[in-house]
């Protein structure tokens, strides 16, 4: 029994020891929990915060582009979009099919999305939404919203999209935005330190970011872009966003707005007036050089480019024979034809080679060397001085005047007017055209200048190439009697490159003669656009000059057969019709240049068009005080001068 007792005794003791050891272990666990949860609590709370709060890049809202009176030309709009979060779908193909049953998704896009989804799964990025459709119509958005809950992994949301409410009207002025390509990134980060370039690249990777690809969108990119901020997002371990914590400290800084000098109503009226014709029109404020309208038609719709244009759609634009991608107003180069005659006359008077009263006899042709140059008027104008030469647009008068003045003097005067200069004005695609002279010909063609070419130069043909913008500037400078300003398109925004380029004064007396000639064209018997002088506003009249730009030479054989006007030949071979004008004739406020491609006659197509646009500008008072100016419209430089 003693043995038994000692065993029992020992067992009890050992049970106590074991229980005690257990108690110690338990106390150890509790102590450790106390350490973690009470003593070190703050450290782990901070770590928990770091864990689940992520700062996501928040793209800035791109600045708007507004017209002279603050009407939006490029802004942003909330648009519905549908995306798929691959990790939340069970069967991607089925999910896509169910979306396609609700809204229209092209088959080729479905195929591409299926590939994208499997790629994202492979890259373990299946929590990143993949966009199925942008720009949902209201009906589609509503329908998707109702059914999204039934389709797992589908997300329907509103997103900010660049929008061009005026559509085609400003395509060539504003250009468009697009997702930044590698080339864009390379261009934008050019010259940046590596870390800054990297940040820029990250910013542009955001699905809502766009960069200006063309036009003012590209020129004013940095002004419009703004500064990115951050969104405080609560995420789970997989990186999925659970909720957002608002915090103004990190809000992105929106881009600045740009005001252009254009009156969008005038722009619209001008485009409507063009109808189906192709061509360009530029309206300038005679007193300030502000561009009030810059029309190039046909055009493309920049809204089509914002979310990427399909290859097929782009090909349609590119291959369209009417060239809707071509920025005619500032990038279209045309022979100015007779609209150039004021420049020749100015050069003649400036050089002193010709006096205004010098007369030339026109009997319909002009012999020089062993060749014959024709005047547009069969039978001739008879004896003409400078005034009548301009009014009747007598080619013979200008053959003779140009020959006397010489190519160098004409070219120099043309450059003083702003020809040969690419007026970018904050757009892309501007071209300078060409003002030829003997040095140019020697350099480019390796030949000497022939005097016969000077004759062609005198009537605005030959190698000479100008843009409608340059013609409008010429007209405005004549109308302002030589005031030396530059055209201006950016009312409020980044400075344009050519600030300070044109500073060439023109003689006021000579300009008055040019004005008188242009008045004669529209308002005196024998003027080539006699019927177009009346603006239909009671008092004010317009003064202008017609022009015809030859698309091809009319052969002698055709001339003999009486083929002079090409109404019976193919459209593509017909001449371009030009008209430059200012109004009102007695107190010029607006200058305009119109080119109607293959419009055949300056007086018959271009002049009525110009007249109607000027009529609208005057009636609408397009040049009134702009929204961006604090003071009254810029005071005319001539205001203080005695008249």
């Amino acid at each position: 029994m003693t043995q038994d007792r000692s065993i029992e005794d020992d067992f009890t003791r050992r049970m106590l020891i074991a229980a005690g050891a257990g108690g110690v272990v338990w106390a150890g666990l509790v102590a450790r929990l106390f350490q973690l949860q009470v003593v070190e609590r703050e450290k782990y709370e901070a770590a928990a915060e770091d864990n689940h709060i992520k700062l996501a890049l928040a793209p800035p809202q791109r600045g708007s582009i507004l017209d002279r009176f603050g009407k939006p030309l490029a802004s942003h709009r909330r648009a519905g979009r549908v995306s798929i979060i691959p990790e939340q779908t069970r069967d991607a193909a089925d999910t896509l099919a169910r979306i396609a049953a609700l809204i229209d998704v092209p088959d080729e896009r479905l195929a591409r999305l299926t590939r994208e989804i499997s790629t994202s799964r492979r890259r373990n990025a299946a929590f990143v939404p993949i966009i199925v459709a942008h720009e949902l119509t209201y009906e589609d958005f509503a329908r998707m919203n109702v059914h999204a809950a039934e389709i797992p992994g589908v997300q329907v949301e509103m997103a900010s999209t660049r929008s061009y409410p005026r559509g085609r009207d400003f395509a060539h002025v504003l250009g468009y935005v697009a997702r930044a390509s590698q080339d864009d990134l390379h261009r934008l980060s050019n010259g940046m330190p590596a870390d800054e370039a990297k940040r820029l690249e990250n910013l542009f990777r955001h699905p809502d970011m766009r960069t200006g690809r063309q036009g003012m969108e590209r020129f004013a990119e940095e002004w419009l872009r703004g500064k990115p901020g951050f969104r405080k997002l609560v995420t789970n371990a997989a990186g999925r966003v659970i909720e957002e914590i608002p915090d103004d400290k990190f809000a992105p800084v929106p881009g600045k707005d740009v005001y252009v000098t254009i009156d969008s109503e005038l722009q619209r009226a001008a485009i409507e007036r063009f109808g189906d014709e192709s061509g360009a029109a530029v309206v300038l404020d005679v007193e300030t050089g502000d561009v009030l309208a810059m029309v190039s038609t046909p055009a493309f719709d920049p809204n089509d480019f914002v979310n990427g244009i399909s290859g097929a759609d782009y090909a349609l634009l590119r291959d369209n024979p009417r060239s809707p991608l071509y920025p005619r107003a500032h990038g279209g180069v045309y022979p100015p034809g007779s609209t150039f005659k004021m420049v020749v006359a100015t050069a003649a008077l400036e050089s002193g080679a010709v006096k205004p009263t010098d007369r030339v006899h026109c009997n319909g042709y002009y012999r020089f060397g062993n060749r014959t140059w024709h005047c547009w008027k069969k039978g001739g104008h008879g004896s003409v001085d400078m005034h009548n030469g301009i009014k009747g647009s007598c080619d013979v008068y200008f053959y003779e005047t140009a020959r006397r003045t010489g190519v160098e003097a004409i070219a120099a005067t043309a450059r003083k007017f702003g020809f040969g200069e690419a007026w970018t004005l904050g757009m892309t695609g501007a071209r300078g055209g060409l003002v030829p002279d003997s040095a140019w010909k020697q350099r480019v063609m390796g030949e000497q200048w022939y005097e016969g070419e000077t004759l062609n130069f005198g009537i605005g043909q030959g190698q000479l190439g100008v843009t409608p913008l340059q013609l409008a500037l010429m007209t405005a400078r004549i109308a302002s009697e030589g005031h030396s300003y530059k055209p201006r398109l950016v009312g409020l925004g980044p400075k344009s490159d050519e600030d300070g380029v044109l500073d060439a004064p023109l003689d006021a007396e000579i300009m008055k003669r040019m004005k008188a000639g242009m008045y004669g064209v529209t308002s005196e018997a024998g003027g080539t656009a006699y019927r177009s002088g009346d603006l239909g506003l009671g008092g004010p009249r317009l003064a202008g000059k017609t022009g015809t730009a030859q698309v091809r030479r009319i052969t002698m054989a055709e001339r003999d057969k009486g083929v002079r006007k090409g109404l019976n030949i193919e459209r593509e071979l017909r001449d371009h019709a030009l008209f430059v004008a200012y109004a009102p004739s007695d107190d010029p406020k607006y200058a305009i240049a119109v080119v109607v491609e293959h419009g055949e006659g300056g007086s018959s197509t271009a002049a009525p068009l110009a007249r109607d646009i000027l009529h609208f500008a005057l009636k609408n008072d397009s040049r009134r005080k702009p929204a961006y100016s604090q003071t009254a419209s810029v005071a005319p430089a001539t205001a203080g001068e005695p008249t």
């Binding site: 065993i7 929990l33 070190e40």
Partner: protein, 401 residues
């Protein structure tokens, strides 16, 4: 009968009940059920319900896992019935089953070695029809039973001698070696630890035990290098975080780091049910199985974890006390061994989650999601209850008295 007067565990109560116990064998099962210690059982049910609630919290937002809590609760219902049935088993039945169960388990472990299914870098599972069985889990109970059976036979008044414990060591080591080879380091340790407790209680010389512990510590390098690569990595991670070295946020250390963040950010009273950010957003891997304590800690804070550990302490303390009340060595050692088995689950799990032990892959009894561990745990409770109900059985065939 000179059992009275022993220190600590008073047996007076047990003796006064001897008269009723004598007629116990003749009781109907319903009356027997009514005699069960329902306070203890209710505490177990409360723990299981807590576990289901925490499972819901940890997995309800995950697609495909939102019903886990219900599945686990259903499993609990089944194993609960099993536990009650087991509680009614007379100890003699347990003892009769002990050796066959042990032999069967060893056979299964050998089978796992030969035809087992590999998963998670270890060969632990046997595919039986649609069910994957993990024999190493059964081994915990089988070894406990076998040890109780063994000591019940060999303990005599001269049993202080070392030799009789050698048989017990063999009983432990055969399955331990097989499980270690799978490899499943955690279960091996738990098996040796709870087996060790039984040997200790059976009276192995303190000096020998001390020597064993010293030898075990000396063998640590050898064990370390015999571990599988992933296990060694876990130990390395554990050591580096213990020494306070900066841990990278990947792999094993990521799990421990996130677990510590979840636990620590719970603070005094937690963020509230379903409001734990770490838990709700899946920062802690395996948070519905082995790391479910992080959910409790984050959502109910220090008060919650302490209450949980207190609940376990009450369950284990009562079970241990109840085992000590048994008259038979089988009842004592089986009850204590089962208690130790559950206790080591808890210690290993909690120790691992709070960064005191290497990650060994051990679930938290009654709380973690998982079927096999629940089955083992509930069988242990069944055995404990049976030992309690039959604490006055003398089990005549033994040579104790």
């Amino acid at each position: 009968m000179s059992r009275d007067g022993y220190t600590g565990f008073s047996r007076g109560e047990a003796r006064t009940r001897t008269a009723t116990s004598l007629s116990f064998e003749t009781m109907g099962p319903l009356r027997k059920l009514a005699k069960l210690p329902w306070g203890f059982i209710l505490l177990i049910v409360a723990m299981a319900l807590t576990g289901a609630a925490m499972l819901y919290s940890s997995a309800h937002t995950n697609p495909g896992e939102s019903d886990l809590w219900f599945l686990q609760l259903s499993r609990f219902g089944l194993t609960f019935v099993m536990m009650l049935v087991m509680a009614l088993f007379p100890l003699s039945l347990w003892r009769t089953l002990a050796l066959p169960a042990y032999a069967f388990t060893v056979l299964l472990l050998v089978l796992v070695e030969v035809v087992g299914v590999t998963g998670g870098g270890a060969q632990r599972w046997l595919q039986v029809g649609p069910v994957a069985v993990q024999p190493s889990e059964f081994a915990k109970l089988a070894v406990t039973l076998a040890l109780a059976w063994y000591y019940d036979r060999v303990i005599t008044p001269r049993s202080g001698r070392f030799v009789i414990h050698l048989g017990a060591l063999v009983i432990i080591l055969i399955p331990a070696v097989l499980i270690f080879k799978q490899p499943d380091f955690g279960t091996t340790l738990a098996l040796i630890a709870s087996g060790g407790v039984v040997i200790f209680l059976a009276g192995m010389s303190m000096r020998v035990i001390l020597g064993g512990v010293v030898a075990g510590i000396a063998a640590i390098p050898a064990i370390y290098f015999s571990l599988a690569a992933y296990q060694r990595e876990r130990v390395d991670t554990f050591l580096s975080q213990l020494s306070g070295d900066a841990t990278n946020a990947l792999g094993e250390s990521y799990q421990i780091e996130q677990a510590k963040i979840a636990i620590g950010s719970g603070g005094w009273n937690g963020k509230g049910y379903l409001a734990g950010i770490q838990s709700q957003q899946d920062y802690v891997p395996e948070q519905h199985t082995d790391f479910i304590l992080t959910v409790i800690a984050e959502e109910f804070g220090f008060l919650g974890t302490t209450a949980l550990l207190l609940g376990f302490a009450v369950i284990l303390g009562w079970a241990f006390y109840s085992a000590s009340q048994s008259r038979s060595w089988f009842g004592r050692l089986a009850g204590a061994g089962a208690t130790a088995t559950v206790a080591f689950y808890i210690v290993f799990n909690v120790g691992m989650v709070i960064g005191l032990l290497p990650v060994v892959g051990m679930p938290l009894p009654l709380i973690s999601y998982g079927g096999t561990a629940l089955l083992t745990t509930m069988a242990c409770f069944g055995l404990i209850l049976s030992a309690h109900m039959h604490r006055d059985d003398k089990l005549s065939s033994t040579g104790l008295i």
